[in-house]
């Protein structure tokens, strides 16, 4: 199975050059069944990555461009009077899809954001009194632009917490960029990605990843990390239990992707930035930009043994 995952990573790598680590993290997030937040500047390949992920897993895919005038009904769907049946019939919105790309999620109003986030948490939506289940699996890949915040509604911590991982993409290295330039503009690169895995694969992978062993020693290490975030005064607040559960889940999946039957400290360290950066904030920070530095500190200062 690991070879197939590697093949999927390579496949996505054909459109997002030189970003294997980010791709692996994104796939890890999907296998672990979590939602993904991609945060980077415009034009870095956020949408490309999301699109390619949808293709490689063969998921049906909807993209919602969030704007400030988007209403909850625009994503959830509305009931419209049908003259033929003389009754209201529900027209599902774009959220009824296995993978949603919520582009520029911080551009819309908190009302719409919370409609989406509720759906993420519950796996179902309530429209006009009726509860409707969302397809399974259900993933949300949200993107946002960390700069030019004018006119945006930054997600509060409680909502950031719903995302298993937050990753950035970063500039490509010169070699990858040269290759990109030589290839020429290709409008729909994501569409060229072949399906490598199926929804069934995803389900079985998730199952197997859940069986990866986590030894007491590793949990000790994790608890040291959590305790450090809660006790050190540099942290505005500590990691929540939901956060620590997320770390274990992601570490298991990562170990599984690495072909191990048990998680090791390196697995925790590999996923730690993506999983906890957006859940931490320095005491001195009011904008939530310091998570990365704090995680570096965690990695350097918490003793593995």
């Amino acid at each position: 199975m690991q070879e197939r995952i590697q093949a999927a990573v390579d496949e996505v790598g054909t459109v997002l050059l030189g970003k294997e680590r980010q791709i692996r993290l994104a796939i890890c997030c999907l296998i672990a069944g979590g939602h993904l937040l991609i945060e980077d500047l415009p034009g870095m390949g956020k949408t490309t990555l999301a699109h390619a992920l949808a293709r490689v897993f063969g998921l049906d895919f909807n993209r919602i461009q969030f704007t400030s005038d988007l209403l909850p009904a625009d994503i959830l769907g509305v009931s419209i009077f049908d003259q033929a049946t003389s009754g209201f019939s529900f027209h599902p919105g774009p959220i009824f899809s296995q993978l949603i790309l919520a582009d520029e999620i911080n551009r819309t109003t908190p009302k719409t954001q919370s409609a989406l986030l509720e759906a993420m948490e519950e796996g179902q939506v309530s429209v006009e009194g009726a509860t409707r289940a969302l397809p399974s699996p259900f993933f949300v890949i949200a993107t946002q632009n960390p700069v030019s915040l004018a006119g945006t509604f930054p997600l509060p911590e409680s909502q950031l917490d719903r995302f298993l991982m937050r990753i950035g993409i970063g500039y490509p290295d010169p070699k990858a960029e040269r290759e990109l330039l030589e290839r020429g503009a290709d409008a729909d690169r994501g569409a060229a990605v072949q399906q490598m895995l199926s929804v069934d694969d995803l389900t079985s992978m998730r199952e197997q990843a859940g069986q990866v062993g986590v030894s007491p020693l590793l949990l000790d290490y994790l608890q040291r990390i959590v305790a450090y975030t809660r006790e050190n005064e540099a942290f505005h607040f500590g990691l929540s239990p939901r956060g620590s559960i997320a770390v274990v889940r992601a570490a298991r999946t990562w170990a599984y992707m690495e072909g191990r039957q048990h998680a090791v400290p390196e697995d925790v360290q590999a996923i730690l930035p993506a999983v906890v950066e957006h859940r931490l904030r320095a005491s001195s920070d009011t904008e939530g930009r310091t998570g990365a530095a704090l995680v570096k500190r965690l990695l350097a200062e918490v003793d593995v043994f």
């Binding site: 039957q261 001195s284 593995v304 043994f305």
Partner: protein
């Protein structure tokens, strides 16, 4: 992890202010080029902060350091003072550290050095002003420390300042208790003493001009507080030294073996003079003189272990007075000394230069002696001569040639006390009457606020003592014959309007003593300083013992030592308990113990595991840095990971086979890594090392 390299602005300003306060009292004393260097370093530091200059690179730093050491030594060698040079180097070191500081650690060093330098300041000055300055400096340094330790977001100038003030204020009561109670243990090393090159004061040589020089100075010589009423001004003859050898120009102490302290001690006279009437008791705080003799009214009686009285009834200390000295004296102003004069002393008191330079004076002495019926009459006759002939008391007498006595008595007739004392004693000796010059201070100014007497350098004086049959040594002051108000009212009332008076103390408040409020301010300040000296600075071992005995009764010191010892050790035990309780030694499982021992060995080899480095990452790094260890390390790591992170073992038992393998592999690798000696230990006690 990249440490924050930019020093916060607030911290830097705190530090710079602290450093300014610390160094400013030293600046005047330091050579000018060092002051310039300090200013340059500080400006450079600010430019670095502003991003307009780079940090000095290594060669430049080396150059500065290696240049400054020989320059300092060259600067101070001529003065011969090790302490000044050391302080200078310390200051430069601090400033250099300021220049190159990048990290929190560096700033901590600068802060610590600032604290030390503040204490160093007390070597030079212990006045109340210096103490206030030190207190403020401490507060600012503490502020710097606070702003250094705090997260930036909590830091503001006022909050840091407030916290620093609170910290310092809280420490003051403890400081006072410690000051009062902690035993004063004399240092095991000798404390170097700063040498002031321009120290003024009475010396052991008197030649025309050197006492009048002292009248240019308004520096304090000593302060006296009398237990009862202050004697009248005319009685205040503070005897210092007896000068009984005249070489035709200058008066000195006669060269004799008895000048050494040990000889004086051995031949201390059993006879202490005849004391009549009730003594005056007083307490003197002498400013440092760098000389061994000390001042008192005659006939003094002291009970201080290292002060003895020589046969001239002057007081000598074993070591020079390098710090303020406080001593209590009882003086019998009505006294008789040396009613019988030993022949050796008599000969000494009649000595005159062999080469006769002053024939006219000698002739005058002979004729006057013939007119007078007795020795005392002759002395009074000479005083009358000074009074009736046109002699003048002046600070700026004309220079005298070879025949100084003749010239003074017959032509210039203008002189200061040394001229009168010198010629008076000469005339006595020329007439065959034993006589000698005494130098010291005369008079003093009473501080109206505290009632003590201040004696300044301009009170320096020279007078004569004449030995009369049946009366012993009797004091004669020829200056009093010329300028009686010098003796009855003081130097400032006679000399105040003369050019040259207090010339060296241009900025002294003494110059403004005619302005009422300034004068009273001066006196108040002096009273404060005196109280400070009396109660704080002179609080030494003896005073402490007295104080403790009044508090705790007999054997106070022993009891206090015991109590303090118990209290301090209890405090530390409790503190240690609370500090150590939090960090209980972590319990490792067996495999990790072995693994960590291996880590120690590897660290000794230069590949230490970082704190947050997992075993697999570490193994990869070792393979990269030490390829020869790669295979062994990979095997150990694989086993270790399998053991500790692998399938969850059954309760209480690890995979014994794997554990044995791990132990074996680690042992082999460690044997290869270790030194032969440690290898032996490893072989003998494999479980312990």
């Amino acid at each position: 992890m990249e440490v924050q390299t930019q020093i916060p602005r607030l911290t830097l300003w705190w530090l710079l202010t602290a450093l300014f306060l610390v160094i400013s009292p030293h600046l005047l004393r330091l050579p000018i080029w060092i002051s310039l260097l300090i200013v340059a370093c500080v400006v450079w530091r600010i430019l670095i902060f502003a991003g307009r200059a780079a940090f000095p690179n290594k060669p430049l730093k080396m150059l500065i350091v290696f240049l400054s050491i020989p320059l300092t030594i060259a600067q101070y060698r001529s003065l011969g003072a090790g302490l000044d040079a050391a302080v200078c180097l310390l200051i430069m070191g601090t400033v250099f550290k300021l220049l190159e500081m990048r990290q929190r650690r560096d700033m901590l060093i600068v802060v610590a050095l600032s604290y030390v330098l503040t204490m160093v300041g007390f070597i030079y000055s212990q006045t109340i002003l210096a103490s206030l300055h030190a207190l403020i400096t401490f507060t600012v340094i503490t502020g710097a420390l606070v702003s250094l330790q705090r997260e930036n977001s909590y830091s503001s100038f006022t909050s840091n300042g407030r916290l620093a003030i609170r910290l310092v204020a809280q420490s003051i009561p403890l400081t006072i208790v410690l000051f009062l109670l902690v035993p004063r243990v004399a240092p095991l090393w000798t404390m170097p003493v700063p040498v002031s090159s321009n120290k003024t004061g009475v010396t052991d040589e008197m030649s025309p001009g050197n006492i009048s020089n002292l009248s240019k100075s308004a520096e304090l010589a000593f302060r006296v507080s009398f237990e009862d009423a202050t004697p009248i001004h005319e009685e205040l003859y503070w005897r210092g030294l007896v000068l009984d050898y005249f070489d035709g120009r200058a008066w000195r102490r006669s060269a004799s073996a008895f000048q050494s302290y040990s000889m004086m001690e051995r031949f201390q006279r059993t006879s202490q003079g005849v004391r009549n009437g009730t003594p005056v008791s007083y307490d003197i705080i002498l400013e440092p003189t760098q000389q061994t003799w000390i001042y008192a009214l005659p006939l003094a009686q002291l009970d201080v272990s290292d002060v003895i009285q020589d046969r001239n009834y002057t007081l000598h200390k074993e070591k020079p007075v390098t710090q303020r000295l406080r001593y209590q004296v009882q003086s019998y102003l009505n006294y008789d000394i040396d009613l019988e004069l030993a022949s050796a002393l008599k000969a000494r008191a009649l000595q005159l230069p062999e080469e006769e330079l002053n024939p006219r004076s000698k002739a005058l002495a002979a004729s006057l002696r013939q007119e007078a019926p007795g020795d005392r009459d002759y002395a009074l006759r000479v005083l009358r001569l000074f009074r009736e002939e046109p002699f003048f008391y002046t600070l700026t007498p004309p220079a005298l040639g070879e025949a100084s006595i003749d010239e003074f008595l017959f032509s210039s007739r203008q002189g200061f006390c040394e001229h009168y004392a010198s010629s008076f004693v000469y005339l006595m000796r020329a007439a065959g009457i034993p006589a000698r010059v005494v130098v010291g201070y005369q008079g003093g100014e009473i501080n109206p606020f505290e009632g003590y007497t201040m004696v300044y350098q301009y009170n320096a004086h020279a007078w004569a003592e004449v030995w009369l049959e049946g009366e012993g040594w009797v004091r004669f002051d020829p200056t009093g014959a010329v300028a009686p108000e010098r003796i009855s009212e003081g130097a400032q009332s006679v000399l105040g309007n003369q050019p040259g008076f207090l010339e060296d103390s241009r900025f002294s408040m003494m110059r403004f003593r005619n302005t009422q409020w300034l004068n009273s301010l001066r006196l108040r300040l002096d009273a404060m300083d005196y109280a400070w000296n009396r109660w704080v600075v002179s609080y030494d071992e003896d005073v402490q013992l007295q104080f403790l005995e009044t508090l705790f009764g007999e054997k106070a010191r022993e009891r206090l030592f015991l109590a303090l010892g118990v209290a301090i050790s209890t405090f530390f035990i409790i503190a240690a308990f609370f500090l150590l309780r939090g960090r209980k030694q972590k319990q490792f499982d067996e495999a990790t113990k072995y693994y960590l021992r291996l880590m120690q060995d590897l660290a000794a080899q230069g590949v230490g595991r970082k704190r947050g480095e997992g075993p697999i990452d570490f193994s990869a790094r070792v393979a990269k840095q030490k390829p020869e260890l790669a295979a062994a390390m990979a095997e150990i790591t694989a086993i270790y990971v399998q053991l500790n992170y692998g399938a969850i073992p059954e309760e209480g038992q690890k995979d014994a086979m794997l554990f044995a393998r791990l132990r074996q592999s680690i042992r082999i690798l460690r044997l290869a890594l270790n030194t032969p000696i440690k290898r032996v230990f490893l072989r003998v006690w494999p479980g312990q090392f």
